[in-house]
Amino acid sequence: MSNLILTTAVILGLIAGHINLIRRKWLLNVFGLAIQYLCIFIIFPKTESFIPAIIKLIVGLMATLIIYLTILGTGAVKHERISLKLSAGEVFRGLSGLFLVLLILIATPWLQSEVFPQSSRPALILSMGLMLLGLLQLGSKAEPFYIIIGLLTFLSGFELLYSSLEFSNLLEALFAMVNLLLSIAGAYFIVKDLETEAS
């Protein structure tokens, strides 16, 4: 049962990362980000208490909420229908992401035995997957909003990996600050760009 939950969380997290990489729909991206944080919470290495995992979830959801409320407050959301048709760019990003995930699945046993023996396999797959999908997003998109989503994805993957290696309260506090400030920066970019377009 536990394995099933972990596997589901890994698959869901990677799908959410994939959606963020492929689609350019703000609401969908924000929703994908929230799902990622939820999956990280499930996979998060069990330390002495649940508190670090809960803090990570709360910080992640707060970061998501900051972006969502900014979009809502500025009226930037347009009622666009979510089309199932994919553009050439979306297909390219989707296939690239899929290739990376496959690469991780192949490389994980070696990575686990040679480099990160402390990390569990689900944590390693999800963290590496999110990091690489985030990096791909950073390389394939130029708009500040999507870059921020990419950065948050990359960081969430890295935080999951690092928490399986070493735990420090101070570092967790710093990570929380980075995540919140990044989401505020994302909100700042959204507001700034809308103001510039309006003027």
């Binding site: 130029a142 870059i147 290696l165 570092l171 700042y188």
Partner: protein, 476 residues
């Protein structure tokens, strides 16, 4: 009992939060930041060795360790010279920030960013500084990309690079804990060394991961960019020396010092080549940063020959050069709405803005290391070390020097050229510079000359920068 961490980190952060609330009141905000940064810099310079200030019968004892979340933040007397230098930069840049129409957040964020750099240098284990450096990059966003303009790709790329660098340092930190228990683990050493050097390459903006730097310089206000670059360069070079000081396995890596020297040389030569072809003034600032970073790396590479003294001698000259160049450029941009930032648009500016033009050229000449100017003693010092290196680096250094001279002569030629409409020089408008511009420029020029003529004066002031390092000079 007071604490150095509270004085140089907590109080400045509190002040910056206060300044955020009163940012609209320009005079009050500027006065507070000037007084507080001046006081913090002076206190850091004057703090006695035993961290006890005696005022009459009263003794103020300062503790130098502050525990937090099971770790410690520590500012000892050895760190205080650099701390003083950082707050001195805050003081200098805030004197002109508002008159140069920088972001309204400048007063508050400059203080906060300086405090964060101090925190980055004081946190133990010091590898956690990687996350703080990322925080600093995020905090710089409102300064680099103020409201009213669309977010440029340079700022976004800057944040992206900083985010990618951070995990590499933290992962190397985790690997290092294994190296300490198994020092002969060569595979681990190699991995950790690669991660550390890669992350520093990104932080230092070494070519080819420098692309964000000219973009940011082009998009953002020169005064703001120069402030952030001065703090970044001063802190990161010292942070790198900390690495070498702390980890014997790193400094004992064969060829590390040679790699550092050549990395520095590549930076000097390539930045000077890029400079010589440059057409935009703002980008010159970015390439000057790379040129200076090249010299800093070269000096670290020559550490065993005493090269680190360059960092101490060049601290104030670099600060003055950056301030002089960015001030004159910002003022020219502000005073001449038609100036599009291209070098060819500087035509005839000397006749209207003589003081600013002189400061602009003198700052660049100072960076080049011309005699009697501020950077000359530092550049001369490094050049004197080179013949002993035995790598024929002098030739490359000369090429690097030539590139910088080309851009300087191009700028001088444009500045003194008559206007395109063939108007005679005597009929041009007389100087349009205000008294404030004249005074600020004169002070910078005067300090540059004093630093060049009496190098001992300022290098003595900053000799404490190297105080925390003792082991780096010895190969074990």
């Amino acid at each position: 009992m007071m604490n150095t961490v509270i004085v140089w980190i907590v109080i400045p952060i509190a002040i910056s939060l206060l300044l955020m609330l009163i940012q609209r009141f320009v005079k009050i905000s500027t006065t507070i930041v000037l007084i507080s940064s001046g006081f913090l810099a002076a206190l850091a310079f004057l703090m006695p060795e035993d961290l006890i200030i005696r005022l009459g019968a009263r003794h103020f004892i300062f503790a130098d360790v502050f525990p937090i979340f099971g770790r410690v933040i520590s500012i000892t007397k050895a760190n205080l010279t650099l701390v003083a230098g950082l707050y001195l930069a805050v003081f200098i840049w805030n004197t002109a920030a508002r008159s140069l129409k920088t972001s309204q957040w400048f007063n508050a964020l400059s203080m906060l960013i300086a405090a964060m750099w101090v925190l980055a240098l004081a946190v133990q284990p010091f590898l956690y500084a990687a996350v703080i450096i990322l925080l600093i990059a995020i905090l710089s966003i409102p300064l680099l990309s103020p409201r009213g303009s669309k977010a440029g790709p340079g700022v976004v790329r800057y944040i992206t690079f900083q985010t990618i660098a951070m995990p590499m340092v933290l992962l190397s930190a985790w690997m290092l804990s294994d190296i300490e228990t198994a020092p002969s683990a060569s595979a681990l050493i190699l991995r950790a060394a690669i991660l550390v050097l890669l992350s520093f390459a990104i932080w230092f903006a070494l070519i080819p991961v420098h692309t964000w730097l000219p973009m940011v310089a082009q998009e953002s206000h020169p005064w703001t960019v120069s402030f952030l670059l001065v703090l970044m360069q001063s802190s990161l070079t010292i942070f790198f020396v900390y690495f070498l000081e702390e980890y014997a396995w790193l400094r004992n890596l064969s060829e590390l010092w040679t790699i550092l020297r050549w990395a520095g040389m590549v930076m000097i030569v390539s930045s000077s080549v890029l400079l010589s072809f440059q057409n935009r003034m703002r980008r010159v600032l970015a390439y000057i940063y790379l040129w200076e970073m090249g010299y800093a790396l070269l000096s670290i590479g020559l550490a065993q020959q005493g090269g680190l003294h360059y960092l101490q001698i060049n601290f104030l000259p670099r600060l003055l050069g950056m301030a002089g160049f960015s001030y004159s450029l910002s003022m020219l941009e502000q005073s001449e709405p038609d100036f599009d930032g291209k070098i060819r648009s500087l035509t005839g500016f000397y006749h209207s803005y003589p003081t600013l033009s002189i400061v602009l050229v003198m700052s660049l000449l100072s960076f080049a290391g011309l005699p009697i100017l501020a950077s000359f003693p530092a550049k001369h010092y490094i050049m004197n070390l080179l013949p002993w290196s035995g790598y024929a680096m002098e030739t490359w250094l000369s090429i690097g020097f030539a590139g910088l001279l080309i851009i300087i002569f191009r700028i001088i030629q444009q500045l003194i050229s008559p206007l395109p409409n063939n108007a005679p020089v005597i009929s041009l408008k007389t100087s349009r510079e205000t008294a404030r511009v004249f005074v600020f420029s004169s002070i910078i020029l005067l300090l540059m000359l004093i630093a060049g003529l009496f190098p001992g004066l300022f290098s003595e002031l900053f000799k404490g920068i190297l105080a925390p390092f003792e082991r780096i000079f010895i190969l074990s």
